[in-house]
């Protein structure tokens, strides 16, 4: 898999053709990233962030009729502050995944605006929290016939500190819009904090909205069932954890990338199949 390494402070990615692109960004304390996807383009971007103490401001513009999938993978080593805004135009679709297996403290704030009719946004996060991982996601529906979906997975370990604030906001006039969200948190220790705050702010009658949240420890019956087939308790737990992390690795339809991420995830959870 070819990847372009970028070390500049101000990065502009202007996507003018279809395809899969991979970038490896060496961040700094004041990184800027602008991603623009032209009209009627279908592109997938895999972007990894590296460095120490990174603060990044990112803006994404998806022009009408385009479809773009972006997977951000955090490989920063100490702390990461990530602020993102996104604008999605008419009949355009944007999927963004935020994957984080790192030991870094993360504070992430994402706002996606569905500006014109037919816009679609999907935000996915997956992380393993052994330290501070605070996320705020906000999907703002400005126009009719728009849809947003937020899906969050987190495995919270000892000393983990996870906050997920997911906000679906549908403005007056954005009729026949849909905003749904789902968060699943697996807690592995009593010495942790995890909080999921689902918000739905709806100013229009003719809409669909919903949220689902599960927070809890591994299910003993599931573990027993898996053990009766020969897996140790540790192996069974690892498989469950991999199950929480894999949806994000699959958002970009690229076999090599998916396999590589799967290997990374398995390594992280200490699982060897």
């Amino acid at each position: 898999m070819k990847s372009e390494t970028i070390k500049k402070r101000d990065v502009q990615l202007h996507i003018k053709k279809d395809g899969f692109f991979s970038f490896h960004i060496e961040g700094s304390e004041a990184s800027q990233l602008l991603i623009t996807v032209d009209k009627h383009i279908s592109a997938s971007l895999y972007i990894t962030y590296h460095g120490i103490d990174i603060a990044c401001n990112c803006h994404v513009v998806i022009e009408s009729g385009s479809s773009c999938k972006i997977l951000f993978w955090n490989e920063v080593s100490s702390s990461m502050r990530f602020q993102q805004t996104a604008e999605v135009g008419r009949d355009a679709s944007l999927t963004i995944g935020y994957g984080d297996l790192s030991e870094a403290e993360v504070v992430s704030d994402v706002q996606a605006a569905l500006l014109e009719e037919g816009a679609q946004v999907q935000l996915l996060t997956a992380c393993i929290s052994g330290q501070k991982k605070h996320y705020a996601l906000h999907c703002l529906h400005e126009a009719a016939h728009t849809s947003s979906q937020m899906e969050n997975y987190c495995v919270v370990k000892k000393h983990g500190d996870y906050i997920m604030k997911a906000n679906g906001q549908i403005k007056k006039g954005a009729y026949q819009s849909t905003s749904v969200q789902k968060s699943r948190v697996l807690t592995m220790s009593e010495q942790q904090r995890s909080e999921v705050i689902p918000l739905l702010l709806i100013d229009e009658n003719d809409v669909k909205a919903g949220h689902a949240t599960t927070v809890g420890q591994p299910d003993e019956r599931q573990l027993y069932y898996m053990q009766t087939r020969g897996l140790t308790r540790e192996q069974a737990i690892s498989l469950l954890v991999i199950g929480y992390m894999m949806p994000i690795a699959e958002i970009i339809d690229h076999e090599e990338l998916r396999d590589q991420l799967r290997t990374d995830i398995e390594k992280k959870v200490g699982y060897h199949a």
Partner: protein
């Protein structure tokens, strides 16, 4: 030769004694039918053999080829060759059938199974059980119908090749065709190698298909009568009353739910 031996087994569930001195020996190649009214300990026996943490063995022994099963963890029991096909298999979201099974197979191998040979074998087994080809990529039992879950248990059994397999009401929730498919698969396995079987079922039909070499009736925590297929037929025709009479036992009965009486309407009473 493989032999599972259970001697004088007493088992508690949440403080209540369910098995009260049970003896049973299963040799390789044998098929044992285990019958008895609900609530008399059939499922408890199977769960205790597998090591379900809810069940406490207070007395007696279970050995496989002379090795103490009771000191083994659940997963160890599986790896030495015990298998329990469950009445209510768990649903595990996020873990695909193929990842799960591959991990289960690898857990008993020194060198992991090659991906290609695994996929080939899984596809073959799925076809034998006449399940949808996408089974491998679906999450473990998630959203499966009752019958699909049961057949998936047999898929796992076929791929894990246990020495002694126990099936706990695996036939309930299966239609006639599916029952035949499951029975054929089990019979084919026994034809391939001398797997021992302990089967709990309420239906003579399943036993007709499996043709057990041994049959037992479990009443009030003990095996009271043993025999062969003739015993299965007799129970099918006559029920358990003759046995209860013969041994002077009151079978443990599952509590029936009484309809709730709401009483007479207070408003009406006041008005009359």
């Amino acid at each position: 030769m493989t032999q599972l031996m259970i001697k004088d087994l007493f088992v508690n569930v949440e403080g209540k004694e369910i098995l009260k001195g049970l003896d049973l020996t299963i040799n390789e190649g044998e098929t044992h039918a285990l019958m008895g009214p609900n609530g008399n300990g059939k499922s408890t026996l199977l769960a205790a053999i597998m090591g379900n943490p809810k069940y406490t063995v207070t007395k007696g022994s279970i050995t496989l080829d002379g090795n103490d099963v009771l000191t083994m963890e659940v997963d160890e029991r599986s790896r030495v060759g015990l298998f329990l096909g469950m009445q209510y298999p768990s649903e595990v979201s996020g873990v695909t059938n193929s990842d799960f099974l591959r991990a289960a197979i690898n857990a008993r191998l020194d060198k992991p199974i090659g991906l290609f040979s695994f996929i080939k074998e899984m596809e073959k087994t799925i076809e034998e059980l006449q399940m949808k080809p996408d089974l491998a990529h679906r999450f473990l039992n998630e959203g499966f119908s009752g019958g699909e879950k049961k057949r998936n248990e047999i898929v796992q059994m076929k791929m894990l090749k246990p020495r002694i397999a126990m099936l706990d009401e695996i036939d309930s929730g299966l239609d006639v065709d599916a029952l035949k498919i499951v029975a054929d698969a089990v019979n084919a396995m026994q034809h391939e190698y001398a797997m021992g079987l302990l089967v709990v079922s309420h239906y003579e039909r399943f036993y007709q298909l499996l043709q057990p070499t041994h049959a037992h009736v479990l009443l009030d925590g003990k095996i009271v009568e043993s025999g062969d297929m003739k015993l299965v037929e007799k129970v099918d025709q006559e029920g358990y009353d003759w046995l209860l009479e013969k041994y002077g036992i009151t079978a443990a009965k599952e509590k029936k739910k009484e309809p709730v009486r709401l009483g007479s309407c207070a408003a009406k009473k006041a008005g009359s």
